[in-house]
Subunit: 265 residues, 2 copies
Amino acid sequence: MPEPYVHGYSPREARRLADQANVLADRLHAGVRYPAGARVLEVGCGVGAQTLHLARNNPHSAITAVDISPASLAAAQQLLAGVGATVDFVQGDLFALPFPDAAFDHLFVCFVLEHLPDPVDALRHVTRYLRPGGSLTVIEGDHGSFLCHPQSADADAAVACLIELQRRAGGDGCIGRRLYPVLCAAGFADARVEPVPIYADPSAPDAVEAFTRNTFNAMVAGVEQRALEAGLTTRDAWQRGMDALERAAADGTASYCFFRGTATR
Amino acid sequence: MPEPYVHGYSPREARRLADQANVLADRLHAGVRYPAGARVLEVGCGVGAQTLHLARNNPHSAITAVDISPASLAAAQQLLAGVGATVDFVQGDLFALPFPDAAFDHLFVCFVLEHLPDPVDALRHVTRYLRPGGSLTVIEGDHGSFLCHPQSADADAAVACLIELQRRAGGDGCIGRRLYPVLCAAGFADARVEPVPIYADPSAPDAVEAFTRNTFNAMVAGVEQRALEAGLTTRDAWQRGMDALERAAADGTASYCFFRGTATR
């Protein structure tokens, strides 16, 4: 039985998510600003890495964050309490949340759909909690967009292991490119998707550290054991891939593209 | 003997370049603004597709544009005359241009390095025409960044033909990701590279038409004959690839990333 959340729940993974959120926050959350008093529901908040920025950027909105994992919610609560942000955390399955219909003005969904077998169905289910005319914001990555210099077939093979494991777990690590049709198929109106690129080279050591090493390379590194167990790679091939990714961080370049979609109920 | 310029010199190709320049101009030329009186040299202007925007955006600069192809220069002159822009066109090989040293304040190089066997050497050669403290702007694509929905191995194979043909002609269709090390190795200071993403889906039919169909898909379509002659594909496989690219335009999505680098002599 495959683990549905491919990245796992380790403390190292939690730190990776926080690093990622910090360096990417300005880009990913650009334009994600809600009016004072707006009722905002974050679906699938995980350890709160994005909730943190959602709350910081919208201090006068009423933010509710739900996740299916009690452990993740506990971590999220601790993270948010540490910065004095007020968020209402609720444990629940997104297919059966404990809210009345149309209880929220805005939905925020970040790095969630990529892990679901049927993202259209998931969005259709949560739509009911959004008032008519309310907005949906969805942010996803697309691992197929990763480019690095020096180019390396070994690095590409390691990334392909992540994509394949995510596929076997029922998800889609390349969902970014199909966000638009997903939003439309879920019945939303006025769907708009924009690319959110991130690029790091030695001229910006902070970006290299935060994105290339601590976000992307760490995400790939996190599936080593599963990739080996699944027979998708060997210890040697995996090491060559990780060495190539580290070379891209050490004195090369790395590029990746997220996609941010917005739509209206 | 491989044709060094992989895209060829047909009228259809000239129109493709003009379409591309029009839709991409705002993004590609963002920030490419020079002071009044600045002496600007565009190296490798081709049919003037970018020269047009350079001249429009910098009406009070003194723009000189060079290319090795007399036919391209004639087309560029006609294009620029049609919009009343004043540009000094000069025919010449970038490795031996008829200018005194330090004759220019700024160099502009767009979609040129990707076609050269040694882009570092090329930049080193043209550096002499730039005054110390002057700026260099380089814009290149990276065909490895292309993503489309629906995903298609056939489309990927067609794009791979373009990349391989460009490699055999001595170029690098994936140069975008290594622009930073190229600028550094050429001896420039303060090198900075930023990604310039473009994305098109049915919510923006103009972008689909101008980018996906008339720029990217047309660029791939342009190498059909060479790909067949080189034995890189078959008629059937090629057609499947082009059908997949057309599906991405018809009701799917397409994403691509250019890279813009700036540096100082």
